[in-house]
Symmetry: D2
Subunit: 374 residues, 4 copies
């Protein structure tokens, strides 16, 4: 047993930490304090990240190897281990800026979209419908059937959380065989409409993707059950890692604030109530870290890891939520101000608790496995 | 012991419930789904309630006796009991619309502002600074001294949460005696500036009120320690009552959703996880109700009630927070959509937990009383 | 609404409190520190209460009206209200001595056993089998059928928790009709054997009651569904009331200890951690008190109260458990010593959480009612 | 990073697991069901483990290398790593039998007691007084001073939890220098009396050790601050490891019971409430395992590990407590019967939560470190 990070892993972590400190956290003030914007009529009123900066940051992240983390070495990437990806997503999680690497399943780099995905000229999102909520592929309802000139997707309507991507991965089950197929669907495919965009409590949106009489070339059927499962587990690991980052940021900021803020004649830091909250949070971060690293390590070892990823996400997202709550409690009035990142972490974490398995559902699934196994 | 509401109290509750159902909840859809507004340049982008509707609703509420609840009978009001006010605020709490009766301390109706406050042509807010957070008057820092031609307030700067009121109640301690005085300060008093308005996680704001070389006519010193304490306890009771309303709304909506929503082949309502959450919430609502009614009843009986009000607020606000969290969990994706009221309750309740005493501070205060008393 | 106790209720509470202080708590030292007893070979080694003292205390309790609380006025009793009984059981709950009034359903006083039960020469216990655990009559499994010369109980075997009573109330369902009948079974009835006594974690035992070819005179069928339900609700109220007493004792003793005990140079009482625990406990006691009084008050008003009694028991028993845990935590080493009452309260409360409905079962039942009703 | 156990560690675990299954768990039935014993007058009435079996088991454990785990290779031992010791104590924790290896600090094997400790003819215990409770050496109050013919211990009186050992390790601070010295005190040293043995809620006892005018040869001063700290950390790791064993046993037994037990017409295992409890418990076991292994691994790597050991003990003991509570809840009536091990685990775990640092104290210590550091 060796619980140390390797030298390579330490370097990756350090690179990511520096990028996040210098490029993201340094920009938070401007982002959070953006004045009530002079909006064109009808424009959305939510807090947004301007496109030019996003492009520039993407370029810089790419230069230091913090983008398209799954890119194979054959295409000039470093096909990072799952552990390394956790370390990177953890660092990005520390910033409230809505900027972090998108996961692109490695098999996509072998498709016709590979090059565009690798250079960033094509953006990718998941259209996983109910699976976004439950984390279980068993809930999939769209069917498809293969015909000589392509696959016909049955008409359906699902929610997606990234309504502006160029390309969507869309899972469906083959009529009859129930075999799961994972399709790459272009945004402007005939029969696809995306609309009814709705604001979420976070600064994001959801929209409705409607498929009507869609036919897709069979070569765009790119994966099956295992690939879809790995994508879900990967998203769960990303959420878990991002949660760790939120926890670390909230803890560090709360300690700093507690040391400096004086109430009723002495620093907050000397109050036991505050000490308790911080001690509890620090242990929760530590245990969530182990659950997350363990799942990622298992993935790298080619051991089964889907269940571990689900549990790590459950615990870590709950911890991030608690971390934001604690930071608000300790920062008091500042905690609920939009100029500080904590209320944003708090809203983000609420959504993260729902994504890819609500707590009760993950517990049920785990409980059922126990009781049927052995 | 008689735990029933009186006939009069039942009538008040019924009137308030009908008003809230017909006038407020019926308007929620329009309020929550307001399209990205065509804003004048520089206008705030947060969700707002339009002024015309607000005026109209105020008039209707006044007609059925649900406004200026403290107005004495001598001025045509009904000087409602604390229990009755809890019943009314509980009903208003059920709606996410930012519309509910402002509490106006009875002694103000005897001041020169009385008539304008009674007819609504003057709006009132509290400028209680740190007390908004701690719920304790001991934290007050502004000093004043009386001079022949009025009271001089020492220069100070505090946060206020209602930056657009016409009149503020401002507590300060007399230099030397430490006696607390409660001043009525008009918005345009010389030396007062209100600025730096900042968005909160709720759809509200805070701003900074700065006093510089303010002199106030002595006749505007309208109350003392007890009056200020009663105002804090009154605000705590209002928050507790509003929390009960949030709890009731979230519970009712969750039950309704759970009955109708089918997942994995059976109604949500049949899942034990859901049943548990709802059973727990219902008991929490019940216990918070008793704590709140007990504090209000003590106020009406002229028993001491400040501590009871503080504890009721602590428990009830925590319960409202939990209620919103449960409603989000049960509604899933809808729960975090801005079209539904739950994410709004959730943000509001987070702030309510901080107002007039964070949990840890109230516990400390209660603990200290235990250990010094008897 | 009037939340005050009546003068009569206050007097009852005072009488009970004095009895418990003078007669029970004063004897605890001797009971808890009883030396390793000189036991006759084969005698049980658990802590027991000697029979002579028990008899004497019973007599004294009877003299001040604190025994056979349900005895009708026609038989010289005071047929106390449910609220009064809660007040009395709460006081008895404050002592660790295994001595408290047994509830005797009023209808039994009209049976042939009435006089003996009233004067204490006959002892009564419940043989409710699974109902002791679940609190639900629906789980009853023993059947009976009426024949000309008496009722035949089908052979069965159940657990009972009072293996030395003279008379048992035994519920069974009529074959075919499923009508519930409540039988009075004498200990030495032919076909009844009681054996296999087993120690519990408390200082009590359970044993197995086996019925084989039992026939009972029809006149000993003394009640039906409602009476059985009222007995369960009554036991739940007793447990709730006793829990309140445990909570009060643990809180008072912990405050006392915290004031006097000095660690690391200052009284425990000044530590926030301690203050928090005590503040939390005091609110839990208060809310459990309201739930319990509300259920009892409803019973007295002839409103439905079974569900309320079940919820009061659930919350109060959990609170008593937490109270004992807190007292142990605050008393440290003394807390786990058998010379102090806290470890005993802790073991008792663990059992009380299981009796007449475990938490999860009560929640499920409450949840199901919600979701089927209206 | 490599999260796998080494082959050697796996073998150690397997050996310990087999020993516990075959030698300990197989004997539990007899131990738990021992009939009310035919005691000699005045003998203690608590559950005890008979001496002959204890001797025999010790011998067998020694044969397979599961005793005197710290014995250096030079003396024929294997001086096991901290990780290996955690694996062994975890297995012993699975049995309710009061039989597990005593930790003997390695430096003692170099003293004149070394051989006797190694062959088991001398038994060792700690006399750490307040440190047993707080886990902090700063609370030590006994002073000593060195004189030409030995060290004089100032008169003192402390509690010890193993009143029948032959040899005690006793820490004291040097008058003036405050340097901590660790003494080996023989039971029959002049001036030492051990008395006032008192039963605990577990089947153990505490007693009072009184020192009066004790003088100890200077050669029996065997260690200093670091050695005492390492002993405390070692005890914390043992408790953490034993807690893991309790958790594993309770989880396994609860799963088994839930699969077989049918209530209301279906196996317990199908109830979500049960599934939840088990899922939650399994994650808690996993996180406590990581915290414990991490602390042990750090000890083996010669990194600082005292804080980590304290936190591991805090979380693991709380988890063991919860595990026993869950097992009782799931086993219902059986759970509180003395014939089953769960109520015993529950009482043991309550004490383990208090030993070497109550939760609140550990949190305070951790909180203070945060806020003073960096």
């Amino acid at each position: 047993m060796d619980l140390k990070l390797s030298e390579e892993e330490k370097l990756i972590r350090k690179t990511a930490a520096e990028f996040v400190d210098k490029e993201l956290i340094a920009r938070e003030g401007a982002y959070l304090r953006q004045p009530a914007p002079f909006l064109p009529p009808g424009a959305p009123s939510r807090r947004e990240f301007d496109a030019a900066t996003r492009t520039e940051l993407t370029e810089r992240a790419r230069q230091v190897g913090l983008w398209t983390l799954e890119l194979p070495q054959s295409l000039g990437g470093s096909s990072m281990s799952a552990v390394a990806r956790v370390l990177i997503h953890r660092e990005f999680g520390r910033s409230i800026l809505p900027f972090r690497p998108i996961s692109i399943p490695a098999f996509l780099f072998e498709s016709k979209y590979g090059e565009q995905l690798a250079n960033g000229s094509l953006s990718l999102a998941l259209a996983f419908g109910e699976v976004h909520k439950t984390g279980e592929l068993s809930g999939l309802q769209t069917l498809y059937r293969e015909e000589p000139d392509g696959c016909i997707l049955r008409d359906s309507s699902i929610f997606i959380s990234n309504p502006r991507a160029d390309l969507y991965l869309f899972p469906a089950r083959e009529q009859g065989t129930q075999r799961l197929g994972l399709f790459a669907i272009e945004r402007d495919l005939q029969g696809v409409t995306i609309g009814d965009e709705v604001d979420l409590t976070t600064d994001g949106t959801v929209a409705r993707m409607v498929l009507k009489q869609c036919k897709i070339p069979t070569e765009q059927l790119l994966g099956y059950e295992y690939e879809a499962g790995a994508i879900v587990a990967g998203e769960q690991l990303n959420i878990a890692a991002r949660s760790l980052g939120i926890g670390m940021r909230c803890l560090a900021a709360s300690i700093e604030h507690a040391k400096n803020r004086v109430t009723f004649g002495r620093p907050l830091a000397q109050r036991q109530a505050i000490q308790w909250m911080l001690a509890d949070l620090s242990i929760d971060i530590r245990t969530s870290t182990w659950l997350t690293l363990e799942a990622a390590w298992r993935a790298d070892q080619e051991l089964s890891y889907f269940e571990e990823a689900a549990l790590a996400k459950k615990r870590a997202a709950k911890m991030a939520f608690q971390a934001a709550d604690t930071a608000i409690q300790i920062h008091g009035g500042y905690g609920v101000c939009k100029e500080f990142p904590f209320e944003g972490f708090y809203r983000d974490a609420r959504l993260m608790r729902l994504l890819y398995g609500r707590e009760a559902e993950l517990d049920r699934a785990a409980g059922e496995r126990f009781l049927t196994s052995s």
